[in-house]
């Protein structure tokens, strides 16, 4: 609940922050600026670091724009951080400070802010970052808990609409000495993918065709009506059905260890790698808890991120899905991973290809029984 007082305080502090980035110099720490990349990729980062804490600078620019969300060309008004939905993953280490500049260009129509689940206080920063079109704010927060966390927009009165319109992403706070299994053995990854799942609610006209709108604002009322029924029209990864299949399929090699971070800012999901497993899974996404081993499907609660490590053992085309298979196949929540390498016959072998059922087995009873009954 936001009272008038906290709102005013937020405004006052935001004003202070906005006037003087120099304020952040109260910390005598080295600074590092990070250029973000769009999902499924993650900006370069150290998994473990020998360096001391630093201030890591990130910049997110809000973009409101119409996007296409499936192969049928369905158009959808998106609100995004840096143009992608979800927004980019931001990585830092426990004990680091994130200094985040949130820019809301004048070309946008809506006020926006950011609630970082990894941060402590002020509604995750939401109360200190509310920016109108033509404004920006800078927020600094200390990364005290290692794990993967959701961030999302949370403007009063319109939170769910902003979130299901694309304004969410993830932060990964790595332990300074890297990831470990339950016995303290270090864990590494050769590759990392950030999969952001979106539940989208697109209004239809009386003929059942998806509606389009001239402006973002005009889509609000109809979209909210669909949202309130809680049945998404699309459940997709990276903002679009097919964003991670075909030519956009992810790639890996046999022997490579891949970290898959999966976030859903609004709704529960259950990732599953068809033909593979989760070797080490932080289902709730928090690295101070020992990872679970050998999972088949893991549960990512709405409003959280989970992380899974897997070393590929067989080549082939894998499907990484939300194992509500209706959502995976009919609504879009499917990614493909092409894995190159040598087949391991010990793990799997086709003993006999599909063919006729041998008559001596199928027909045995039929051919014998008449004799017996006679």
């Amino acid at each position: 609940m936001i009272t008038r007082r906290t709102a005013l305080m937020g405004a006052a502090i935001a004003a202070l922050l906005a006037t003087a980035p120099a304020l952040a110099d109260d910390l005598k720490l080295p600074r590092q600026h990070v250029n973000l990349v769009a999902p499924p990729f993650v900006h370069p980062h150290e998994q473990a670091t020998r360096e001391g804490p630093k201030i890591v600078e990130f910049k997110l620019t809000v973009q409101e724009k119409e996007v296409v969300i499936d192969d049928a060309g369905t158009r959808f008004w998106a609100m995004t951080y840096n143009g992608s939905m979800p927004g980019p993953m931001m990585v830092l280490h426990e004990g680091d400070y994130m200094e985040l500049t949130l820019v809301n260009p004048e070309t946008n129509a809506m006020p926006h802010n950011i609630d970082l689940h990894a941060a402590t206080g002020a509604l995750g920063g939401g109360a200190l970052t509310k920016v109108n079109p033509g404004e920006q704010a800078v927020l600094r927060w200390k990364a005290t808990r290692p794990g993967v966390f959701v961030y999302h927009c949370a403007p009063e009165g319109m939170i769910p609409w902003h979130v299901v319109s694309g304004m969410h992403g993830a932060v990964m706070v790595l332990p300074r000495d890297g990831l470990k299994d339950g016995d303290g053995k270090p864990l590494h990854y050769d590759k990392i993918f950030y999969i952001g799942e979106n539940d989208l609610y697109v209004p239809k006209d009386e003929n059942g065709k998806y509606k389009t709108y001239e402006t973002l604002g005009e889509s609000y009322a109809d979209t909210t009506e669909v949202m309130r029924k809680l049945i998404p029209t699309h459940v997709v990864f990276e903002g679009r059905a097919g964003a991670l299949t075909g030519k956009n399929a992810l790639t890996a090699k046999v022997g490579e260890t891949v970290m898959i971070v999966h976030s859903e800012a609004n709704r529960d999901t259950r990732p599953h790698l068809i033909g593979g497993h989760g070797d080490y899974v932080w289902e709730a996404g928090k690295f101070n808890n020992p990872p679970q081993k050998d999972l088949e499907t893991w549960f990512v609660r709405g409003g959280s991120a989970g992380a899974a490590l897997y070393t590929f053992r067989e080549p082939g085309v894998y499907a990484y899905v939300n194992h509500n298979l209706i959502e995976a196949v009919e609504l879009g929540a499917t990614a493909h991973i092409k894995v190159e390498g040598k087949w391991n016959e010990d793990l799997m072998k086709q003993v006999s290809p599909p063919g006729p059922i041998p008559p001596d087995k199928l027909g045995a009873i039929d051919s014998v029984s008449p004799v017996v009954t006679r």
Partner: protein, 290 residues
Amino acid sequence: MLVAIKLKFAIAAGLLAAPVVMHSLTPATVATDIGFAEFAEIPPADFDYRMAGDFSRAGRPVESPNSTTRLSAKLRIMKRQVTVAEYRRCMNAGACPRIGSADARPDTPVVGVNWHDAQAYAGWMSRTTGLNYRLPTDQEWSFAAAESARSEVAPLVDPSDPAQAWIARYEAESARAASVVLAPQRVGTFGQNSNGLRDVGGNVWEWTDTCFVRATLDDGSLRVTNTNCGVRVVQGAHRTYMTDFIRDPRTGGCAAGVPPANLGFRLVIETGFPGMRGMVSNFFGSLRRS
């Protein structure tokens, strides 16, 4: 900007209105559209045909047999795919199942049809014209498709390392899928082949009457070990196999593949002894599934 968008809406509205006008005012035009003139008549000639199905020798997948063959009679096949306008007539006559995609532009191929819908349409056409309409066999389709037919073999699965073929197929399918516009286009958009057939290998795949078979080629002889008429050969930019009740190929595929864009069909008129061939294949088809 606003003006441009409004204009687009106006055009869209015009398009939506068009089918109604077409249907209520010009049934005659539509009817002549599907007359005899729209059929290509192709006299028998030698052509290369690669059999449809899965073939193996000594338990290992092999290329399906490719041979020079010849149809026994001339082939009379529709120059274009059955259109929305045509299918809608059958639907309105109560002879074809109602499908959601029938409200599309009348001059586009009808899509979102399964094998049974195509059968229903062929049956209705036969009853109303007295001619014997049916789906082409895969062999007939390949002959008519001529240079547009794709007879290359998908990468063979090596049982000791099956993943290589899966990846190769996936990449080939992905490359193809990226170049395809998904929405059905006006008849003729994808050109015309040497037999005068339009849109062969465009973005609408076509049902054939051929059942899926699995066969062995051991000892130099072909032996069909399984015939599944619940799965039919579908032809287009590539040959594939579809369960007969699938209307939207995108939801009929498996977890890791790139399916055809749309399912439609074109018909042939039986030129031999009327009906025999289609009846026989349908008879066996229905036996299999009962």
